[in-house]
């Protein structure tokens, strides 16, 4: 069936054909024809944001919590440039997004027209791929290809720049099934020889560890299920990066907690001391490795990743396996069982004893107070009071983010949305709205710091307009806590611009937006206040006034290896040298 239609209608038709049910966007001159089409249909819901960065983070929250690509529609020029931070955020964390931007008409490109920007030029290094469509006849096919590229292989954001005259012109619509998917077909099956080598190592390893990452989440629910099988069958200990939390349940007995700069003592020491490291969908990020030269010095390493460029980028590995986590894990399990499901039982027993000693250190212990709310305590209570609920957590970036990762437990993948790679303050509030739009009945909480939260607070307007009852749980220390912590440890306690002398009254701010504001500063009131927040049917801004000078521990200082962690204040004197100070 060939159908003639305008470019604008093609956009809406192609989105429908791709199963898109919601678009996050903001109109402007260069996308008016597309908005006109959106107006004339009811299949796709449009969420009007307050700033284009918010639209992209919402789409990220939507994508991360559903496994489907998030879709964004913005206008030319400032609309597109405002989306850039979100694009890079999605690129770093491998979140599938399709961003459509308007552009000045083709005959005006290059004339510095009103609201013209070189969007494909600006976003080229910020996307997995991008297109400028100059011919309406190619528009629908390009959109279908864009969805393919965004979601296959290592997922990521793509952008399609659509000049206004292309939206008005008429051409034949190319349906999904007739679209040429180019040559882009990333390899998903792991090399059988490499898988065999990994299985042989698993059979003999004395001190194995599974080091999992966001790739497990991206690979889909089957990957998490296989991972749980693998752990149950082998009894190997498992840790995860920030991005992979929930792939293995926090309540599982083999769970060591998160690893990395603010990861748990037992997780980091197990990484340091292991003799077999199996990296599943993680990328040896610098927050994970610490000093590369001393990273896990006595282990053989296997790395399962769908992106060949992730392998040997930072850490040289012995067994590289390029492939999709689900397919590779299925093969690993099958082969390992076929060969007799052997592990080194004696070695493992000793290994678990060692890990038990590390666990006994109780690295997350903190000094509680009955006068002020400690941020860790606030999260412990939030965890206790929301456990078992249909709960999704987003975060901003900073100390609160690390505490959330340490103190909240995730039983399933896709329940934890955070900006890991780029570390974008201002991510959490819009992301929480994106999650809520996808899961209207769920409890969606953004664990925030007041400084991050202010960066995109305009999106409370979006939450109100679309009745997204997101809970903004702000750990307010009136400081840029993580910056302050580094200044204390690295810059002689000179707190250069790391606090705000003028913060809004968050309760009044909530009232101004028309939602509920709750303020809590006494630990004795905290439980009731949290319950009030959960029970309120609508968006809540929760101003939780916490201890102002709390530091986040454990911490591996920059430039140090895993076995030189700081466990608390007493460890911090003069530990970070000049070399560490230049690292971020």
């Amino acid at each position: 069936m060939t159908k003639q239609m305008t470019g604008a209608r093609m956009v809406v038709q192609a989105l429908k054909d791709q199963g898109v049910d919601v678009v996050f966007g903001y109109p402007g001159g260069a996308v008016l024809p597309i908005y006109d089409e959106i107006f004339q249909q009811n299949d796709i819901r449009h969420i009007l944001v307050r700033h284009e960065q918010g639209a992209v983070h919402m789409a990220e929250g939507y994508a991360r919590s559903t496994g489907k690509p998030g879709v964004v529609l913005v206008t030319s020029g400032p609309g597109a440039t405002n989306a850039v931070t979100g694009l890079v955020d999605a690129l770093m964390d491998s979140i599938p997004l399709v961003v459509l931007s308007g552009q000045v008409p083709t005959f005006m490109i290059g004339t510095d027209g009103f609201q013209e920007a070189d969007t494909v030029g600006i976003t080229r290094p910020c996307t997995k791929h991008n297109w400028l469509v100059k011919d309406t006849a190619k528009l629908s096919e390009t959109i279908h290809q864009a969805f393919h590229v965004a979601t296959s292989g290592r997922p990521g954001p793509v952008l399609i720049d659509i000049p206004k005259d292309v939206q008005f012109a008429t051409a034949t619509y190319t349906p999904m099934e007739k679209t040429r998917l180019q040559h882009y077909q990333p390899r998903t099956k792991g090399d059988p020889e490499a898988i065999l080598r990994l299985v042989e190592m698993m059979e003999t390893a004395e001190r194995p560890i599974l080091y999992t990452g966001g790739g497990v989440v991206n690979s889909g629910p089957a990957a998490s299920a296989l991972l749980r099988d693998l752990v149950a069958e082998t009894d190997f200990p498992i840790t995860s990066t920030l991005m992979g939390l929930g792939s293995y349940p926090a309540s599982g007995k083999n769970w060591l907690g998160m690893l990395g700069m603010h990861g748990l003592y037992e997780a980091n020491l197990a990484m340091h001391g292991c003799d077999l490291m199996i990296n599943i969908g993680a990328r040896f990020d610098d927050r994970i490795t610490g000093r590369v030269k001393d990273f896990s010095p006595h282990s053989r390493k296997a790395h399962i990743d769908i992106d060949p460029s992730s392998i040997n980028k930072v850490i040289r590995v012995d067994v590289p396996i390029v492939g999709d986590v689900t397919e590779v894990l299925r093969e690993v399990l099958r082969l390992w069982k076929e060969r007799g499901a052997r592990t080194n039982k004696a070695g493992l027993e000793k290994w678990w004893k060692q890990i038990a000693e590390w666990r006994a250190v109780d690295c997350l212990a903190f000094k509680n107070s009955d006068k002020t709310i400690k941020p860790q305590y606030a999260l412990q209570r939030l965890e206790a009071l929301t456990k078992g609920m249909d709960r999704y957590i987003t975060t901003e970036v900073g100390q609160h983010q690390m505490w959330a990762a340490q103190f909240l437990g995730f039983e399933d993948p896709n329940r934890w949305m955070t900006s890991g790679g780029l570390g974008t303050m201002g991510y959490g509030l819009p992301a929480s709205i994106g999650v809520q739009v996808a899961h209207p009945e769920a409890l969606v909480i953004n664990v925030a710091g007041e400084a991050s939260w202010l960066m995109n607070m305009q999106e409370m307007g979006t939450a109100m307009q679309f009745r997204a009852p997101v809970k903004q749980f702000i750990l307010n220390n009136e400081r840029l806590g993580m910056v302050r912590q580094w200044q204390e440890l690295l810059h002689g306690e000179r707190y250069s611009h790391s606090w705000s002398e003028s913060l809004p009254d968050f309760v009044k701010l909530a009232e101004a937006f028309g939602c509920k504001g709750i303020k809590c500063s006494d630990p004795r009131d905290l439980d009731d206040a949290i319950m009030e927040m959960i029970r309120y049917d609508g968006p809540v801004i929760f101003d939780c006034l916490v201890e102002k000078h709390e530091n986040c521990f454990p911490m591996i200082p920059s430039g140090k290896p895993h076995n030189e962690m700081l466990l608390g204040e007493a460890d911090t004197q003069g530990v970070i040298g000049a070399k560490g100070a230049v690292l971020v």
Binding site: K128, Q182, D307, S309, K313
Partner: protein, 186 residues
């Protein structure tokens, strides 16, 4: 260069690869990249090099298959073996890139570059320039009473050598195309 000084003739994925992947010695490698001939594709490739801090010593690009919309980019780059492997992997994940070949690692390859030299001078210097051009098999493609333009095709080393000889003889300008390369044999 291989640690054992064994001639390169294997890819980094071969069992016979004797290159020391931990080597910190910088090597020069010639990469052939087959890309979709579409607007912006060159920017993607060179943006990757500048964005990730890799070197480009020479670059040529032209369409090689009009009906298939394929262009061939030849890049001479340098880096440690680990960096070269990483460049190859990073290029491979650009959506518009079809193939990446490390011609230096894959076996013997023919490398050629075309250069134009403008040499101005009178008397003995002019005669000497012409004599050297003959030895180097450079063609005269333009001449006035006071200048020549020589055209030469050869390896980059040969072009460097000729340029060095022309410098004292009145070399005014050089234009070089950068390296084009093909692997030897079928």
């Amino acid at each position: 260069m291989s640690a054992l000084n064994i001639k390169k003739g294997s890819t980094s994925h071969s069992a016979y690869d004797l290159r020391d992947s931990h080597s910190q010695v910088e090597e020069s490698h010639t990469l052939a990249i087959i890309v979709e001939n579409e607007p912006g594709v060159l920017a993607r490739v060179i943006g990757l090099f500048s964005g990730r801090g890799y070197n480009i010593d020479s670059l040529t690009v032209a369409e090689v298959d009009h009906t298939g919309h394929r262009s061939r980019i030849t890049i001479v780059t340098s880096g440690t073996p680990a960096v070269i492997d990483q460049i190859e992997a990073q290029l491979g994940r650009i959506v518009s890139v079809y193939e990446v070949h490390d011609l230096t690692a894959e076996g013997p390859a023919v490398q050629r570059e075309l250069a134009l030299f403008k040499v101005a001078g009178k008397g003995d210097a002019r005669i000497e320039a012409l004599r050297l051009a003959e030895i180097f098999r450079a063609n005269v493609v333009d001449s006035t009473l006071e200048s020549f333009i020589f055209e030469m095709t050869g390896t980059p080393e040969k072009i460097d050598a000729f340029a060095d000889l022309m410098r004292p003889l009145g070399l005014r300008e050089i234009a070089r195309t950068g390296v084009a390369a093909l692997s030897r044999g079928a």
